[in-house]
Chain length 454, copies 2
């Protein structure tokens, strides 16, 4: 990556202003006027998640998928098949080494890159994209360590190139309807929020080496798909290693980095029992993996305090048998919404002291984006939210504008992982968040999903 | 209170062994053989809560209410009316000063005393009862400060007289059924529990000075019933000031003080908005109470870690509009129960990844106490749980045995209040629990609700 390889088109210089605190609102929405050319997207990582994104990109008339990179040739083959089946010609492949993607980033005719690789590659690839002048769309979490959080922010500010954390749950239909309710003041002044990633991942962390989910207790070299890389985080780390599906929506409700900020957190881990038990239950005490010492507590509970005085509980619960939930709670001085029982209570609207189904509220406050694109989104599969996150990424590029979720969001949300590890290691001691905006959170304005554009 | 006034009957010397770590199980169930004499109960505090207890006591054939004490003569009058209506003769009254109850404790013919006074009187009255050789049954919370927690424990150990924290929720039907499920291992090894006191108390904290609930924004000298004393805790304290309805049941699930122990906690408070808003909404900015600065955060979130590696989330949420909930969650390596959606998930029993109604489980695991006394309990009002807590107190006296909830429970549960205040004041710093058992938690065995006796 030489300086000369950095794309120095006008938009890059202009968007660097975004790094200095200007909001989307103060930003010309389209710098170059209407532009009919297609947005040229490349992808790094074509596993199950990468191919989800590929599928969405191939459906769009305003996108041209121009290149793909993965070390897994089978994944590339399956991707080319999808491309061909969508009526398009094969695209250039970059493979053969862990750094083959860098050669792809040298290509001039790429506007943005979607990164869906194992966690430890996210930040370095996003940083390389920005340095190459390409919009970076990076899967969650965006960073593994505090240093990586800063890498995202500093590279964004140095290059002026946007990086978007592809947090799809921010676009979930109910989550966006609640955002409308929050913005209209239905809950009053917010006080306490809850969220989490409560998902039994035992069949993701372990499989038989040939199928992605379950059927065995293998992981690492003997595992397939996510089990080949994700499980090691449960062995070596004790913290909330996957915070963004919960905290992303909550951060939008609370205008984090835009008038508000995470101040500090405490984290508490339970004992680690679930993964060992699963191995023993499935394969017996004598299976070599029954000797593995998993460090990740079964349930991690993190409590964040914001500088504006709200508290947020974030849970990580992936090693136990349980139904899926993101456990949202949104509470303010006028009432609250609970995700678990799909119920809401609003003073003077709901019957006193009685829960009310949230159904009518969800319909009434349906977000303009969902009203406009809901049909298209749902037909694209995955409940629709993936459509919107890719839509936002593509539209941001098309408009040569900042992305609605940005480097500061990526850093602040992903920072929960290393900070929670530090808190747990220190007996739940409070740990302060770095201010990734370097004070500019005081002036930055909300930009996420303000209308029906993206 | 002179040493000579202490009742030195044999049972007192024997029960002092309980203070030395002997459990109910190792204890002769009836020291004096069958005894047909009635248990003689006195009451201190005859407000709304005290009269609830009086009503239950008057229904019992094995109890004689022998004396009542309150500074409020109207409360005594209403109580005597209840006594008379139950077909009994008027009882001795002790009134006229804050310490009139001490004269009552000098009476020889009292076996136990039920204390239902404002919080700041709980510990000193319970201590005085124990010193007078009378079983103390004290309403929740049992103590306001750490020193008071130690007062309960030390006085119990010095006198050998039992003190029971009258935590009725330990006896709620669903709570006891869950206890049976926990004991039978349905949830596997427990890992994470949640509970709380989520109760919109704004109409308890404020009233018009003549009715107990609402109708105005007065408190303190101008308030009536609980508003006259409870509200001041919301002005001066920032912590979980009412933890026991949630933590009591959870402590039984986790065998706290009996093989397990609270290790440390962190607490986080939101901003304090609800009470001020309520005053302004009801009475306008110009009402003098609109100037009151409430210190109590609207939502207090406490996370406790136990020495056996479980975590417990405890919430205090009394200043905001919301439906009532104690927010129980009981989770282990085999599954979990959630109170909010009345649902359960047990691996290999429930359909994979799907919540199941807890109804059939509640029926199947109905506690023997409820099977035996359920009808009687429910006809006594208050959902039945008050019946059982009074039943246990009376039966403990009848059997001259330790109470199933004891001084160590009262201390450990009530300690959450001062410890959470300290944590919040220190920016959510972790605070260790004192070991009120002085190490004997390692040997003490569970005693709560082991069968259908009490």
């Amino acid at each position: 990556m030489t300086p000369s390889s950095i794309n120095r088109r006008k938009f890059i210089k202009t968007t660097s202003a975004a790094g200095l605190g200007l909001s989307l609102m103060s930003y010309p929405s389209i710098l170059f006027g209407k532009d009919d050319r297609k947005v040229k997207i490349a992808l790094i990582g074509l596993g199950l998640r990468g191919r989800d994104h590929l599928s969405l990109l191939l459906r769009r008339n305003d996108v041209e998928v121009v290149a793909i990179s993965d070390i897994d040739r089978e994944a590339l083959k399956l991707s080319q098949k999808m491309i061909s089946e969508s009526g398009k010609s094969a695209v250039k492949e970059f493979t053969g080494s862990d750094t083959a993607y860098l050669d792809m980033l040298h290509e001039k005719d790429i506007d943005g890159v979607v990164i869906s690789t194992p966690w430890l590659w996210h930040t370095r690839m996003a940083v390389d994209c920005m340095k190459a002048g390409k919009y970076a769309g990076v899967e969650v979490s965006a960073a593994n360590t505090l240093e990586e959080c800063w890498d995202l922010v500093n590279t964004h500010e140095e290059t002026g190139v946007p990086v978007m954390i592809l947090e799809n749950v921010c676009y979930r239909r109910d989550v966006m309807a609640i955002l409308q309710m929050v913005r209209e003041g239905l809950f009053g002044e917010l006080t306490h929020l809850e969220c989490g990633y409560e998902h039994d991942l035992r069949e993701v962390k372990f499989n038989n080496g040939t199928q992605p989910y379950g059927g065995g207790v293998e992981f690492g070299d003997k595992g397939f798909s996510e089990a080949s890389w994700r499980t090691e985080h449960s062995i070596h780390r004790n913290g909330d290693i996957y915070p963004t599906h919960g905290i992303g929506p909550v951060a939008e409700y609370l205008n984090i980095n835009r008038g508000n900020r995470f101040d500090y957190l405490t984290s508490t881990a339970t004992k680690a029992k679930g993964l060992h038990k699963y191995i023993v239950d499935q394969a017996g005490e004598d299976h070599p993996n029954a000797k593995v010492n998993f460090k990740l507590g079964d349930i991690i509970t993190t409590v964040i305090k914001t500088v504006n005085g709200e508290s947020i509980t974030v849970q990580h619960d992936t090693n136990s048998p349980r139904p899926y939930s993101l456990g949202f709670r949104v509470q303010g001085t006028n009432g609250l919404w609970m995700n678990l029982n799909d119920s809401i209570y609003i003073e003077h609207k709901s019957k006193p002291h009685r829960w009310e189904s949230d159904k009518a509220y969800m319909e009434k406050y349906d977000h303009p984006l969902w009203k406009k694109y809901g049909k298209e989104a749902e037909s694209a599969g995955h409940g629709g939210m993936d459509f919107f996150v890719i839509h936002a990424f593509v539209e941001s590029i098309k408009n040569q504008a900042p992305t609605p979720l940005d480097a500061y969001d990526a850093a602040a949300w992903s920072a929960i992982t290393p900070l929670s590890e530090q808190s747990i290691a220190g007996g739940s001691e409070p740990i302060f968040f770095p201010d990734f905006t370097r004070g500019r959170w005081m002036k930055r304005k909300p930009v996420f999903a303000l209308d029906d554009s993206y």
